[in-house]
Subunit: 343 residues, 2 copies
């Protein structure tokens, strides 16, 4: 899934170049490229499908030149994750009767790819033998309020995999602290695994209209008529997330707790926590930065740019493509509104 708009990383992320195509960590690889490479030990390159907005097709092909154009599924507009996954599931069905599938956002960070692939392979083994919807749950390291949580049923373990007791919305800080001390709550990574027939069966039961709409195209998937069919279908599609549409009500929901250095890097603050800091806890990505009388700052500028940062404590400073922001990290939730004011 690579259709996100990533408004919170302005000015690096814009509608024209959302987060999945950026290298906000300064690793030399965009998120989508790093995601692709992370899965390669477990998934042959011809088995990847990227679902994205039509406007990002060229960028996907540029970042993932190993893929053929037929591997990039183009949504004519945003309709949240359920239609995106329904589309991909019907496409997969048209080429493979019994595929095991991993669904993942294309803009997350993972630092331990060996453990990541071990978890993916264990999960794929599980869903190939069980008619179950499997989520990767991240073992929490702090009372994070920016993630949804999964409560695991600790008495149900089979080979590291547990039944899900319930899915939880983003909590308040007090609730998040309680979750952390309880020890049986995991962060919802948004990475799912299932057998393709299992998820199609869930769509048929829980989102029957959506299922019926996509089923009408069974004869056109993987043909030259597919795009026209999708372009015609999408505008009327219900915009709903896979979490609300499917996960909450699925017949068999499992979770595999994991600890492979994961972050969704959803905010500048979370990016800051993952970067190397200097002696005054300042972090920078890109070009040379001279810090003076400053601490706890994150600076992101292009590699061939230079910056002087003087007298700032706890700020974000970012410049990209003629757009500049200086903002207290504590106030970064305001960025989206302030970007609106620029328009």
């Amino acid at each position: 899934m690579a259709g996100g708009v990533g408004a919170r990383f302005w000015p690096l992320s814009t509608e024209a170049q959302p987060k999945q195509f950026l290298d906000v960590m300064g690793t030399g690889k965009s998120f989508i490229r790093a995601t692709f490479e992370r899965f390669l030990p477990s998934v042959p390159k011809e088995n990847f499908l990227v679902v994205t907005s039509a406007i990002y097709k060229a960028q996907v092909m540029e970042h993932l030149p190993e893929l053929s154009e037929s591997q990039v599924l183009l949504e004519p507009m945003r309709r949240n994750t359920a239609p995106c996954i329904a589309y991909a599931s019907f496409r997969i069905k048209s080429v493979c009767d019994n595929a095991n599938v991993v669904v993942t956002p294309a803009d997350h960070l993972v630092t331990n790819t060996v453990e990541f692939n071990r978890i993916i392979n264990k999960g794929l083994d599980y869903v190939s033998a069980h008619n179950s919807i499997l989520t990767i749950g991240i073992k929490p390291s702090r009372p994070e309020t920016g993630y949804g949580y999964i409560k695991q049923n600790c008495e149900t373990e089979i080979s590291e995999i547990y039944e899900v007791d319930s899915f939880k919305e983003k909590p308040s800080l007090d609730v998040a602290k309680q979750y952390l001390s309880d020890g049986n709550y995991l962060w919802n990574s948004g990475i799912f695994m299932w057998n393709n027939n299992a998820i199609l069966s869930e769509f048929k039961t829980q989102l029957p209209n959506m299922y019926a709409d996509f089923e009408k195209g069974e004869s056109v998937y993987n043909t030259t008529e597919e795009q026209a069919f999708i372009d015609n279908l999408y505008p009327a599609c219900q915009s709903i997330s896979i979490d609300y549409g499917i996960m909450e009500g699925a017949e068999s929901r499992c979770v595999i707790p994991a600890d492979f250095g994961w972050s969704d890097i959803g905010t500048w603050g979370s990016l800051y926590t993952h970067l190397e800091k200097n002696e005054n806890a300042n972090a920078s990505v890109g070009g040379k930065v001279v810090f003076d009388k400053s601490s706890g700052c994150i600076v992101n500028i292009p590699a061939d740019h230079e910056a002087i940062i003087e007298g700032l404590d706890g700020y974000l400073v970012a410049y990209y493509n003629k757009n500049l922001i200086v903002c207290k990290l504590d106030d970064e939730q305001e960025i989206k509104n302030l970007v609106e004011k620029l328009k």
Copy 2:
């Protein structure tokens, strides 16, 4: 005089594009262009001479296309203002026996050009009739510590012009306050007027070696051999300012007090005082800026750029040509050192 390097306006000013070629006020005109246009009511365009570094010749011609190349005198290296003025004076002598001259920096701000031209014309009238070195002294509006001062002899007025009692170095704040309350101290604008024979006579008396060196070229000024002569002469030239070399010891020194909205715009802070502010005392030049929870800031970005400034009080934020600075205005004297650290 347009040879300055303007290091304090980094990143707008750089050695490749010093302050005189910039439009830091956002008026649509560079300082050198505005200076040229300001003098046009009093001085025919063919009478201008620009003394600058050889590396800035193309930029001068671009900003002042009305000038011929012969009006741009090129210094092969910086040697402060006395050699610059000696060179121009000998060039003037070669084409006009009895010229009245105004010497001015090319990177100052004047807001009342009518009053400016009135003062210039009054001064030129005076020096055409008196063998005197005349300085424009600015009536001080605040106890500024960034300017040199001129103490006028208040009992000597002739048609708005006074004898100079003494020149004063940049004062401490206490001394500046005393100057302001005394009422007979003026800011030294660095704008001088004289008859060309008067200044040459002062050079002959006070800087006889420099005078002799430039006099050796009397046959080559305004010929094709002039540049080679200057290029050969300059390396050994004494580097000294006109203030120390000539003003302090001149036989007859006068000052004309003036009030035409002058600033040397020598710092970001002085630029800030001259810009229009919004309701929270924020000023910006160039592209659109959204301020939030901010006050007393100055932001300078290119006209086609945009910026969000959140949570800053009393800061400079400037971006130009791949270089970015965020700095407390109170600390702006550090900028020069911080730029050195980038190198």
